[in-house]
């Protein structure tokens, strides 16, 4: 499979994402530059974590106007896979590819921790290899990860099964103590209505090798790859997933 990882000025998890797709998965990893105008034929674009454009004005506000973003939007509109991690999630919200926005953590503190997130829906290319309710352990590291949206948008997200991950305690319960940033509804990740664009604050690319503490993040990468190859998954639910 061919993955692309975009480097914006200030991205800092781009190399880590490339390492996972190229060295851990053994796939093709294409380094994309923010000034590129095409995606080089990649099947999944990753917008990595970091501090694009110094987080000036708002996180992701400048990056959405990078030349490459026109191609990313076009790819997404055509049903191509897009994964936004941390700053990448913020950029996708700013660009209007995902609903809602990410604001300053309720605590006002930067948070660096390992969290447990629960798979809320397996009807996305990135989670169809999981079981509903699976608990994944991943690191977070962000100052602006508090997911907000107006009530109508939130209700729509819930109704359309677009909340993909929630912060939970180790028993899998959605409790305030498990919420690291104050996100509404403990939301850790959402997808678009077409289900091909996913954004999340936790870092699957930093949970992809045992050496660094766990490999739960790999499930997202494996899912996407299997979905593109149309491989059946053992515990796949019957919920619809968009065709490639």
């Amino acid at each position: 499979m061919r993955w692309g990882v975009v480097t914006f000025p200030g991205s800092n998890d781009d190399r880590d994402a490339l390492r996972v797709v190229a060295r851990v998965l053994g796939d093709d990893g294409v380094a994309l530059w923010h000034k590129d105008r095409d995606l080089g034929g990649v099947e999944c674009v990753i917008l990595p974590g970091g501090f694009s454009y110094g987080d000036y004005l708002r996180c992701g506000a400048m990056a959405k106007f990078s030349p490459i973003m026109a191609a990313v939007v076009e790819h997404a509109r055509a049903g191509g896979l897009v994964l936004g991690i941390c700053n990448g999630f913020q950029i996708l919200c700013e660009a209007g590819l995902l609903p809602g926005a990410l604001v300053r953590n309720r605590s006002l503190s930067f948070v660096c921790d390992v969290v447990t997130i629960r798979v809320e829906t397996t009807a996305t290319p990135f989670t169809h290899g999981c079981r509903p309710g699976d608990l994944l352990s991943m690191p977070i590291k962000h100052g602006e990860g508090c997911y907000v949206a107006d009530e109508a948008t939130l209700a729509e997200l819930e109704a359309r099964d677009q909340v993909v991950f929630r912060y939970v305690d180790q028993a899998g319960r959605v409790v305030p103590e498990a919420n690291p940033n104050g996100s509404l509804g403990n939301v850790a990740g959402v997808c678009n209505a077409g289900r091909n664009v996913l954004g999340l604050m936790p870092h699957p690319e930093h949970a992809a090798e045992r050496l660094v503490g766990g490999e739960d993040g790999l499930k997202l990468f494996h899912s996407a790859r299997a979905w593109l190859r149309r491989e059946p998954q053992g515990d796949r639910t019957e919920a619809p997933v968009p065709e490639p």
Binding site: L57, P99, A101, R104, N105, S107, L108, V148, D150, G182
Partner: protein, 86 residues
Amino acid sequence: MPGLLARVYVTPKRGILDPQGKAVEQSLHALGFGEVSDVTVGKYVEMRVGETPRETADARVRQMCERLLANGVIEDYRVELVPERG
């Protein structure tokens, strides 16, 4: 025609979580300013927009707000245009 100065105030939308405003409010209370409530913290952007007719300038600055300066999901904005001081 005198040049114009645009003053843009970007503030958190009502009902959207404003942890900064909350924290500042708590600090003000702790300092003895108990009369304070509904504190919000926003951004102030100032720019010269040159010798543009006021209506055009207003429309263009609003476009800037919609496209970049404010995020309509979480923020409101207000624009003031004042004559540039020599």
